[in-house]
């Protein structure tokens, strides 16, 4: 009797494994359409967001002293820059009026706190505490003080999932700010980004600032991605291999801003 029970349990275990593997392989092949599991994504995000939120306070205590000192310095610099830019803004407005150009208002920002991050090499979305209730929608651009963070890929009523620029699936149209040469920014892996699509004859220099171009209708234009750290023409084919040092430290990110609207929409 005991032997029969043990034998049944043995085959039962194998049957469970077979079912689990079949189900997961089936999902791998047939359920990777975003529409199929949209509701499950939202439900999971809401549940995990609620479980992670109490731990979010811990994040604030790591490196708080150093961060405060840096922020005070940055505040002083930004106050000076702000004064200069305010002057330039009014001057720009007057000139636009003279030329008959339409004025554009700044984008609306939704402030959010990073409460968690999935950690798998190559795909590490952020969980932020702003969701559909605050007006967040899929594909909205997410920024931090130093530049682009990524885009919203999933929204639940109270939380959102953000695909950061260091995700293996991330890519965005980018330009070199100095001469408007356009390329495609991708995450090269582990420490740096890669700008591709610029011909060998393209004028690129170390230290050039790379910003979003806004031509792929998701990311708003002009957001800083990073600076050119090195160029490897020896490994290049038709296009230059331009390595980018990004400026936003995703691992230490706490506050982010979600831009309402996308590159395809007019700013409000």
């Amino acid at each position: 009797m005991e032997k029969t029970k043990k034998r049944a349990s043995y085959w039962w275990d194998w049957l469970i494994l077979l079912a689990a593997l079949t189900l997961s392989l089936g999902a791998l092949f047939f359920a990777n359409d975003a529409r199929t599991l949209g509701g499950l994504h939202t439900l999971n995000l809401e549940i995990v967001g609620r479980m992670t939120a109490p731990l979010a306070k811990l994040r604030g205590y790591f490196g708080l002293g150093g961060e405060n000192r840096k922020l005070r310095e940055l505040n002083a610099v930004l106050q000076l820059k702000n004064a200069q830019m305010a002057e330039a803004w009014y001057e720009n407005g007057r000139l636009r009026q003279l030329l008959g150009f339409k004025m554009t208002a700044p984008y609306n920002l939704i402030a959010a706190t990073v409460i968690g991050r999935q950690q798998q090499p190559g795909m590490a979305p952020l969980i932020v505490d702003a969701g559909a209730g605050e007006g967040v929608r899929v594909n909205m651009t997410v920024v931090a003080a130093d530049g682009l963070v990524g885009r919203v890929i999933e929204v639940s009523p109270t939380y959102s999932l953000v695909q950061s620029y260091d995700d293996r699936a991330f890519s965005c149209a980018a330009v070199i700010q100095r001469n408007r040469l356009e390329g495609m920014f991708k995450w090269e892996g582990y420490n740096r980004g890669l700008l591709t699509g610029i011909y060998l004859s393209g004028d690129v220099r170390k230290g050039d600032v790379i910003v979003t171009s806004g031509t792929n209708s998701i990311y708003v234009p002009g957001l800083k991605l990073g600076v050119v750290s090195s160029i490897d023409d020896a490994e290049a084919g038709m296009y230059r291999r331009i390595y980018i040092e990004t400026k936003v430290d995703i691992t230490r990110l706490r506050e982010v801003y979600i831009i309402q609207g996308s590159a395809g929409e007019r700013p409000r």
């Binding site: 593997l21 997961s24 999971n44 811990l58």
Partner: protein, 169 residues
């Protein structure tokens, strides 16, 4: 009753994985608390129940990573089955800390290798990829597994492990 313990384990692991794992990262290498939780369940409950929990946790992970739905579910089911097969209920009671920790470390290698093969990691070289995505995270997960298995009071482990496993959950 066991179901509640396992549910708490998974909830805590999910909270740690998404809330604090990047804060304890060293040079971009993170521990995998979910893998530790799934292995802990499989080590005690056996490979059948472990596989079910592995698949369930894997699907939750899949829906949160933005990656391929089914990839974590596939790997965690397999890893849980191996963990459950490697350690019997009785031997675990006498050597849960070191042996269980080492099993988790070994399975972390298998787990990371599968995920590495299923997902293309940017344009970095394969050797760097293997080191950063497979080997180092496995070592760091082993480190955390040993700490967790050793630091969590023996009375709690005994409370969990001395409860006879139910037929399912």
């Amino acid at each position: 009753m066991n179901f509640i313990y396992y549910l708490i384990m998974v909830a805590v692991a999910l909270g740690l994985q998404h809330g604090v794992s990047d804060l304890v990262a060293i040079a971009g290498v993170n521990p995998d608390f979910l893998l530790i939780a799934v292995c802990a369940i499989a080590l005690y409950a056996g490979r059948g129940q472990g596989t079910i929990w592995g698949a369930a946790v894997g699907f939750i992970e899949d829906s949160l990573t933005g990656g391929l739905i089914g990839s974590h579910a596939f790997v965690l089911s397999l890893v849980a089955f191996i963990a459950g097969s490697m350690m019997s209920y009785r031997s675990l009671q006498s050597a849960y800390s070191l042996t269980a920790g080492l099993i988790v470390g070994l399975l972390a290698l298998v787990h990371n290798l599968f995920l590495y093969l299923l997902n293309v990691h940017g344009a970095a070289g394969w050797l760097t990829g293997l080191l950063m995505a497979v080997f180092l995270p496995a070592v760091y997960t082993l480190f955390w597994a040993l700490i967790i298995f050793a630091v969590v009071p023996e009375s709690i482990w005994e409370k969990i492990y001395k409860t006879e496993p139910s037929t399912l959950f």
